[in-house]
Amino acid sequence: MRLLLVEDDVKLARVLAKGLEREGYAIDVADTGDDALEQARQRSYDGVVLDVMLPGRDGFSVCRELRRNELWVPVLMLTARGDVSDRIRGLDAGADDYLVKPFDFGELLARLRALFRRGPTERADVLEVGDLRIDPNTRRVTRHGEDVELTAREMAVLEILARNAGQVVSRTELLDQVWEEEYDGSQNVVDVYVGYVRKKLETPSDDRRIIRTVRGVGFVLEAD
């Protein structure tokens, strides 16, 4: 197992490298974001431990760049700020997990093992339709920046509509993709679920439906 450790604090990098090597990992250290990207492009790693605060290009940017280059290596982010915006920014940038400094070394090892078990995960792009934002990876949906909580099935319905934004998706298509074979009841169930999604997405200030019903055909998520 070869790991890339990206940390600009010399002492922390040294002790983490030492500890990880003792656990049997081969470690390469990078102390800037650009250096990290350079190394990640040249050699394939089983995992990246990535500090957020780096001189120049920060950890978020490194992670986004890795994903843009279709490098799906598991990334564990180290953040010195436990606040929500940092954590969410990390996951949005494509990190797989995060650990808040100061941390327990045993916890770092446990998180890394969990990431290795999962292996590289290819990520779908975040879908943006107007003021609607859908992240299929974290299953987070926001509208006007506000979180919208959807059940798994509602999320699946919305995701299909969003992937075809501006185009009509038929009831049969939705039924096939969301309910698969298990369901052989009425197509009404699609209408019911679209109704749930609408109810959760729409706000009183909307002047029209965000998901429009096309009579006799299906539904369309308005593209603008």
């Binding site: 002790v15 983490l16 003792r22 010195a80 929500v84």
Partner: protein, 257 residues
């Protein structure tokens, strides 16, 4: 007094009020700057704490460390944890005061959460010959995992700190209609009614325990974090018979809830 004199006086009064206002807003700005600088300074402590913690952790994993050295380093590690908790609490105070405390609530299995929260205290409990018991129902609450850890850590820390050697501390997860929570019970000296009234105030130190260590922030932060989740925190206690601190959170709609 003539009309002119009144007008002059009025103009002077207004000028004085404006000057005061300007002074007040300058003062406010200065206080805000000061607060931010203090928070930044506290934040900077996390760097050295991270290095210290990692150095000790990595060294302790080596074989052949002499028992005395192991003992000493484990004790240093505990102090690093204690300092990290103080730093986290101070930063939380700053975040709350600047209205920047943001939560990212997700379904959390409380049994797992108390297991994680109790881990750093196992050694301290053993050193005092305390029985530290974890258990309860497998419930899910909606909570920000990091913040919940902080709140639970503060409660467990207190229970261990204030319970006499040989006593019992139990941490129990429970669920009820619409709520799920954790109760931390100790066989400590209990808390007087007078002290209970102020227990959750920032920097409050119970007179009877004022000489013990603690920043006076743990319980206040715990309550502020849990309240921000739409939950509540309370204490049941009787002098001489121990205390039970409970935090209650909205229950998660998750299937295992």
């Amino acid at each position: 007094m003539g009309a002119l004199a009144i007008a002059v006086q009025e103009r002077r009064r207004r000028a004085a009020v404006d000057a005061l206002r300007a002074e007040l807003s300058a003062l406010r700005r200065r206080t805000d700057d000061e607060r931010r600088r203090t928070a930044d300074a506290v934040h900077a402590l996390r760097g050295p704490l991270t290095v210290m913690g990692a150095e000790v952790d990595v060294y302790l994993r080596e074989e052949g460390v002499a028992p005395a050295a192991r003992e000493l380093l484990a004790s240093v590690r505990e102090e690093v944890d204690a300092m990290s908790r103080i730093v986290a609490n101070l930063l939380t105070v700053a975040a709350i005061d600047e209205h920047r405390l943001r939560l990212n609530p997700v379904p959390v299995v409380l049994l797992d959460a108390i297991e994680t929260a109790a881990r750093p205290f196992r050694r301290a409990a053993a050193a005092k010959r305390l029985t530290l018991q974890l258990g309860g129902e497998r419930c899910q609450a909606r909570a920000d995992p990091e913040r919940l850890q902080q709140a639970l850590g503060n409660l467990i820390d207190n229970a261990i700190k204030y319970t006499e050697p040989g006593g019992d501390v139990s941490v129990t997860a429970w669920c009820a209609a619409g709520q799920a929570g954790v109760t931390v019970t100790d066989s400590g000296p209990g808390i007087s009614a007078a002290a209970r009234a102020h227990l959750f105030e920032r920097y409050y130190r119970e007179p009877a325990r004022a000489n013990s260590r603690g920043s006076g922030l743990g319980l206040a932060i715990c309550r502020e974090i849990i309240t921000a989740h739409g939950g509540s925190v309370w204490v049941d206690s009787e002098e001489g018979r121990g205390s039970a601190f409970t935090l209650a959170l909205p229950r998660s709609a998750g299937a295992a809830g």
